[in-house]
């Protein structure tokens, strides 16, 4: 265990290392590679939600100027990987059959891509696509969640494995709720929400040879994408190159490979030119996943002293008919509070819609809305302060896994958050604080997410000028991965950040998993450390051979670099110029590639990051308008490697939570099974005017059981618990409990 990382230095917040590229427009995203002879693809989507395609009339499109091809199931070339897949192979992490674009005439959801028009310019492709005429044999579709909720089923994964997080779970007595002194029972609904990153999903596909593919693709994992398309085309993995140097936000929708990617690759193969496909904003609602609509019911029982007696938590999440998408909506309920009796039931509702995909905080954020709202409801029922109520049920061990936490510093978060939001101004009785004509309310919500870590490999090279260059296949969808890794490397080596470069976002680089599930810093960070330490060992060996015993006994932790010199700690006389050492050994640079993997600690400890969000809101009693006036976000996320970018990440999560609480709602017209919200005019994400000052507090204590960097992950907990904090604040302001998000003014009328 290397404690040195955290102790060694005062952190000087680093400016984002790619900031200059981003503010000058030089950062290149997937649609911004100009390849010679490039063509443009525009997708044609189905106009029905279920049925088959009877005919496609593409004659007019093919005749239109500049159109190179119209490709559909009628004329698509053979895709070797399509046939290889069974009818329903269970491909982790989701079961079912990922949609094979242009595979046959079947339509599973409205706006499913059914043809692609390829032309010499974007405008020509768009015009061509408008000319494609399709006839269908329509079948009756089911897209209405409420009308079909009774058809919800247990997940296939849970049927196979009773230990699956989606399996039915009972702890203690299943009927304990019935006899609890205080009981609440409530239903909560989270509507479908869209990731809607600002960058439209885009891919530029280029077959450099018959069996060699390069894609510039908006993805969260270059290696996973490489595997997917190598399999789809039955070519060796190394023949598929995936470039995602810059990703303009994703929030989860780059965790799956989507039909438009396959379509672009097929098109590039068929027209024998590089093909670029950029989705329209409307297609961002129908082709690249979403946070699934979820119904939840909570029964909660407690005693007069505030001790929880029982929690029963049921949920139904929406999925498609061709792929089983699950998330761990109910995990927080099992482990957050010391309730002796807990039952959870997770069900899925397949509808004629496209497949959902994890959206920031995924299921935990959904589950936390219900759980943390219910906690607030119970505190109110007992007449307790919601923080006191939570503290009464604080757990020092994980009651689900029956293991100690690796670290848990939530008490600090309660204390600090209370202070910063001004909790003392909160009144127990709702509706009793006013500011002018506005009703004022305070609320809070907690969140947790597993400190997940996967294997990662980093290659590091050090030259005689003292420049450190690293490579890793990980992506950066915005949190500032390169910045954090430069910081880790600088702390490990003592090399100034300006002399360190971290290259990411290419499948050509050493292996890393997805940027998702808050696992980047704690997976890649340790690999950076390991690679840096391996470089140090090489230097020690070199130095010992040349300069006597001082360096001979040194360990990597004993040496640091400063101003091009290797320095033995505690011995200011023991230093060596890096350039001299390299010259003596007749080398230009040294390099090391190191892999870092999760330890066995996960078997002995429950490892989680925790967050706590506080909101102060104003509600207008006549119009029902809600203004979030202040948010305080507290995070127990282990070591904060890069304070500046970490703070931005928290602010971003809180902003997403404001949208979740107040505005975001993908509304479907069930007559057509199609969203009527299809752009930023209808689907409201928070804008400048919606977002108040957001105050961020980090406990910033390392969790060295979780990983050698001590980080527990931040991306998810930044949003988990925000929406209930706001909903609870609205209740405190008005006495009105809104259990069906978003909290739009109509739901607050008549105060």
């Amino acid at each position: 265990m290397n404690e040195a990382f955290f102790d060694k230095k005062e952190y000087k917040p680093l400016d984002r290392v790619d900031g200059r590229l981003k503010v000058t427009g030089a950062a290149k995203y997937s649609a911004e590679y100009a390849l010679p002879n490039m063509a443009y693809g525009v997708l044609v989507g189905s106009r029905i939600a279920k049925g088959t395609i009877k005919s496609i009339d593409s004659k007019a499109a093919e005749r239109a100027p500049g159109v190179l091809a119209v490709i559909s199931h009628l004329n698509v070339i053979k895709i070797p990987g399509y046939a290889a897949r069974g009818v329903h192979p269970s491909e982790p992490p989701t079961g079912g059959q990922p949609l094979r674009v242009f595979y046959d005439n079947k339509v599973y959801s409205n706006d499913q891509p059914i043809a692609i028009v390829v032309a010499t310019s974007l405008e020509k492709a768009q015009y061509g696509a408008s000319l494609v005429k399709v006839q269908y044999d329509q079948q009756e579709h089911q897209t209405d969640f409420e009308a079909n909720a009774k058809n919800a089923v247990i997940a296939a994964a849970a049927k196979k494995n009773p230990k699956s997080p989606t399996a039915d779970y009972d702890r203690g007595q299943t009927d304990a709720f019935e006899t609890a002194p205080f009981r609440i029972e409530a239903e909560y609904v989270l509507p479908t929400e869209m990731h809607n990153p600002m960058e439209l999903q885009a891919i530029t596909a280029h077959w450099e040879a018959d069996d060699r593919l390069t894609i510039y693709d908006k993805v969260q994992g270059t290696k996973t994408t490489q595997k997917t398309f190598a399999k789809e085309w039955d070519v060796p993995e190394q023949n598929v190159k995936v470039i995602a140097t810059f990703v303009g936000g994703a929030f989860g929708n780059g965790l799956h490979s989507w039909p438009h990617e396959s379509a672009a690759i097929i098109a590039a193969k068929q027209v024998k030119r590089p093909v670029k496909v950029v989705l329209t904003r409307e297609q961002m609602f129908t082709m690249v996943g979403y946070r699934p609509r979820t119904w939840q019911k909570i029964q909660m029982g407690a005693a007069k002293d505030g001790k929880l007696v029982a929690i029963n938590h049921h949920s139904i999440g929406q999925t498609s008919t061709y792929e089983e998408f699950t998330e761990t909506t109910l995990m927080q309920t099992r482990m957050m509070y010391a309730s002796p009796n807990v039952s959870t039931r997770y069900r899925l509702l397949p509808l004629n819609v496209a497949t959902p995909i994890w959206m920031r905080g995924p299921g935990e954020a959904t589950g936390a809305f219900a759980l943390e709202s219910a906690m607030d409801e119970m505190a109110h029922a007992i007449g307790m302060d919601p923080i006191e109520f939570r503290l009464a049920n604080y757990t020092e061990t994980d009651p689900d896994k029956n293991m100690p936490w690796s670290t848990k510093y939530m008490r600090e978060c309660y204390e600090e958050g209370k202070k910063r939001i001004g909790w003392e101004n909160r009144k127990l009785k709702p509706g009793s604080v006013r500011d002018g004509e506005w009703l004022v309310g305070y609320g809070m919500g907690t969140g947790t997410f597993g400190a997940n870590r996967g294997p990662a490999t980093v290659k590091a090279e050090l030259d005689l000028e003292g420049n450190l260059v690293m490579h890793c296949a990980i992506t950066d969808i915005g949190p500032g991965t390169a910045t954090a890794m430069v910081q880790v490397a600088s702390n490990t080596t003592g090399i100034a950040p300006e002399k360190i470069t971290f290259h990411l976002g290419s499948s050509e680089f050493p292996n890393a998993g997805l940027q998702g599930g808050s696992s980047t810093v704690n997976s890649v960070g340790p690999a950076v450390q390991a690679a840096c330490n391996a470089l140090k060992e090489q230097l020690i060996t070199m130095a010992a051979a040349k300069s006597g015993p001082d360096f001979g006994a040194a360990k990597p932790d004993d040496i640091m670099f400063e101003k091009g010199e290797i320095q033995l700690s505690g011995k200011s006389s023991a230093k060596l110029k890096l350039s001299d050492l390299f010259k003596q050994n007749n080398i230009q640079k040294i390099e090391a590639t190191q892999e870092s993997k999760p330890s066995e600690n996960g078997k002995k400890y429950s490892m989680n990051a925790f967050s706590m969000h506080f909101a102060m809101v104003h509600v207008h009693p006549f119009t029902g308008q809600v203004r979030v006036k202040k948010i305080v976000c507290c995070a127990d996320a282990g070591t904060i490697v890069s304070p500046k970018t970490a703070e931005s990440q928290m602010i971003g999560g809180a902003t997403g939570g404001i949208g979740m609480a107040l505005t975001e709602d993908a509304v479907m017209d069930h007559r057509f099974g199609r969203y009527v919200t299809k752009d930023f005019g209808d689907y409201h994400v928070p804008v400048h005017a919606d977002v108040p000052d957001i105050d961020v507090y980090f406990v910033n204590k390392p969790d060295l059981l979780a990983d050698p960097v001590g980080s527990k992950g931040l991306g998810e907990i930044a949003i988990i618990g925000v929406a209930p904090a706001i909903a609870n604040a609205v209740f405190n302001a008005t006495g009105k409990r809104v259990r069906h998000l978003p909290i739009t003014p109509d739901k607050l009328l008549g105060l």
Partner: protein, 212 residues
Amino acid sequence: MDKYKSDIKPEKEDHHESRRDFLKTSSILTAIAVAPATVAKAAEYNLGEKISAAFETTPVNLTVNGVKKQLAVEPRSTLLDVLREQLDLTGTKKGCDYGQCGACTVHVNGQRVLSCLSLAVMQEGKQVTTIEGLAKGDELHPMQKAFIKHDGFQCGYCTPGQIMSGIACINEGHADSKEDIKEFMSGNICRCGAYPNIVKAIQEVKNGGQRS
């Protein structure tokens, strides 16, 4: 809005009329060009593309980041697509193409304009400034520096639009208070949620005086 309208000169409308005939003609030409016998040859020389390009474009002269450009654009091409696809100035971003997100904000004759809602042919004789034109050599514009200092971004995709809008916001006199800035920047969406830091950056530039 009125000002915007007055930019459309009558002769342009005439041009739109003749444009319709052009379209018909060129599709016939293309139809001939793609007849089987000629396909191979046309593809070999990219003839089809070249012919149709010549018939379907309209000349337009504009100055982009101080450089005079004589362009041939399709009348239906937006300024955004011409910047990104034709001039390879990809710093200007497409976030919606519907005028709802601000990612495509550029300055036209010094005013902020949504380039996705502006046809390129309508920019005849105008000065267009994009994010690529802000820095003077290596010296960043104060707004660019302030964005780095205050971490006014995460993924960076909305950033060029925010910066172009932020500069205009100050020039318009809409940056006197935090509330004002938030109101007049609300057309620029940041899904990463960098808003508070963007506001700080704009405030700093406003208070420090900005070079325009």
